[in-house]
Point group: C2
Chain length 236, copies 2
DNA sequence: GTATGCTTCAAACATCCGTTTGAAATCTGC
DNA sequence: GCAGATTTCAAACGGATGTTTGAAGCATAC
C-alpha cells in the first residue's frame, strides 16, 4: 500500500516548514513518518525529488486555480482591464481555499507557501523559478493592465513588495516578535489575509515617489510629500 | 596579524548571502577567505560563533543607530507622538547609511539584512530574537504612538507586513522573477527604498478592513469596500 | 640568537548526510 | 495456497560536515 508515500509527503511538509530546505533531513522525515529511510528513496528517488514532489502537489494546484480564477475574472470584465482588487483576489482566494481544505494542504499550507518563497537553497529557488514562471508572467500582465498609470518598473517593484509582505507573513518569520505578542490561536489565516489585503492594495495604489536622477516622464497621479527619500541623501 | 579574521568574516558574509545559514559551510568560507579551516575555529570557536560574530558586527551597529535616530526624532518632536514617516525613517535611514559605507557593510549589507530576517535555521532565528528584542519592542511602541487610531493587534500585523516587504525585497528572493525583468544595475538601494517607503506608508495608513466574526468595537477611521474578505467565504 | 606566544597548517576525528544493498516481509492475482 | 511482483527493513557505503590535534611557521621581546 502506498499510504507510506503519503505519510512521507506529510512528514516532509512538516519538517520543511520548521527547518527549511537544507535543514530538512531524510532521516528526520522518515522518523516523523514512521517509515524507513530507504522508503523515501524507493518511492521518490531521493531527497530533492521527495521535497519537490511534496511542493509540486501543493503548489501546482494553487497555480492552476490562480490562473483559472484570473481568467474567469477577465472574462467577466469583458475586455476592460481588471480592477486591482480582482487580480489580488485571484492571487489570494485560491490560496485561502486550499488552506481551508485539509485534503489539499490545510492550515499549514499558507505557511508552506511563504517558506518556499523565501528559502535560500539554490535547488528550491531554481525549482520554483522554472516551474511557475508562466503563472508569474501571467499575473504581471494582469496587474500591468489593472494599474496602467504605474510605470512598468515601479509596478514590478510594488508587486515584489506585495509578494514580500505575503510570503514573510505566511512563513511566520517574525524575528521582531511582532506576532509573538498576539494570541496566535485567535488569528486564523482568513482574518490574516483580510488584514493584509487592504494593506497591499493601498500600497499598490499609493502615489509614486518623485524619481531620482531620471529624465523619464513621471507617471500621472497625485504626489505625496516624501520626507524619507529626500532626507536620506543629506544624512551621514 | 588578524587580517585573517577579517577575511573570514567577509567570506562568511558572502557565502551566507548566497546559501543561507545551513547552506554555509566552514570549508567554503575558509576556501573563499584563502584561509585554513582550523583558523575559523581558532579565531571564533566554531561555525555558529563565526556566523553570529559576522552578523552581530553588522546588525549591532544598525540597531544602535536605529535606536539613536528614533530617540533624536522623539526629542525633536517634544512629547508629541512621532509622525509615522519619522519612525519609518528611523528604521530605514541607518540601514541605508551603513549600506553606503563600505567599511560597515557596503552594497551587500541590505541583502544580508533581508536574508537574516527570513532564514529558516532555528539557530539564527533565536539569535536574532534574543539579541534584538529590545530594539523591536522600542520601535513597536513608537509606531503605536504614531498611529493611535490603529487597534494594537492590527498595528502589529501591519508592521509585520512592512518588515516582510522590506526583508523579502532586500534579500532579493524573487521566485516570481519580477526583479529579473529589471535591469538591476540601474536600481541602487537608495532608489529601491525610495520606492518602498511610499508603498508601506500608504499601507500603514490604509483604512482598516471590517472585522470578521468579532463583537469587539471597530477602530475609528473610514472603511474601505473589501471585496476579497467577503467574496472569499462564498467560493469553493 | 634564542625563547616565548600567537597564528597557521595538513591531517585525522567522529558524526551526520544521501544513497545503495540484498534479504525479509507483504501484497496481488490466480 | 502459491508464484511473482511490490514494498519494507536493517545495515552498510562513500562522501561531506564541524571539530580537534600536534607540529610547523612566524613575530616580538630579551
Amino acid at each position: 500500500m502506498d499510504e507510506t508515500r503519503e505519510r512521507l509527503l506529510q512528514a516532509a511538509e512538516a519538517v520543511f516548514l520548521e527547518l527549511g530546505y537544507d535543514g530538512t533531513t531524510l532521516r528526520t522525515v522518515a522518523t516523523r513518518a514512521e517509515a524507513n529511510i530507504a522508503a523515501a528513496n524507493y518511492h521518490f528517488g531521493g531527497k530533492d525529488a521527495l521535497l519537490q514532489a511534496m511542493l509540486a502537489r501543493r503548489l501546482d494546484a494553487l497555480a492552476e486555480e490562480r490562473l483559472a480564477l484570473l481568467e474567469r475574472y477577465e472574462r467577466e470584465a469583458a475586455r476592460k482591464p481588471l480592477a486591482c482588487e480582482r487580480a489580488m483576489a485571484a492571487l489570494c482566494m485560491p490560496a485561502l481555499a486550499i488552506a481551508r481544505d485539509p485534503m489539499r494542504g490545510g492550515q499549514d499550507f499558507l505557511r508552506l507557501l511563504g517558506r518556499a518563497y523565501v528559502d535560500p537553497s539554490p535547488v528550491l529557488r531554481t525549482f520554483l523559478k522554472d516551474r511557475y514562471a508562466r503563472v508569474a508572467a501571467r499575473f504581471r500582465e494582469a496587474f500591468a493592465r489593472s494599474l496602467p498609470r504605474l510605470e512598468r518598473t515601479e509596478l514590478s517593484w510594488r508587486l515584489h513588495f506585495v509578494l514580500g509582505a505575503l510570503s514573510y507573513t505566511l512563513a511566520r518569520s517574525d524575528p521582531w516578535q511582532l506576532i509573538g505578542t498576539i494570541r496566535a490561536e485567535n488569528e486564523d489565516d482568513e482574518r490574516l489575509l483580510a488584514r493584509l489585503v487592504p494593506f497591499v492594495l493601498a500600497g499598490l495604489q499609493a502615489p509614486t515617489a518623485p524619481q531620482i536622477e531620471t529624465g523619464a516622464p513621471r507617471p500621472r497621479g497625485a504626489r505625496i510629500k516624501q520626507p524619507i527619500g529626500n532626507a536620506v541623501r543629506s544624512t551621514t
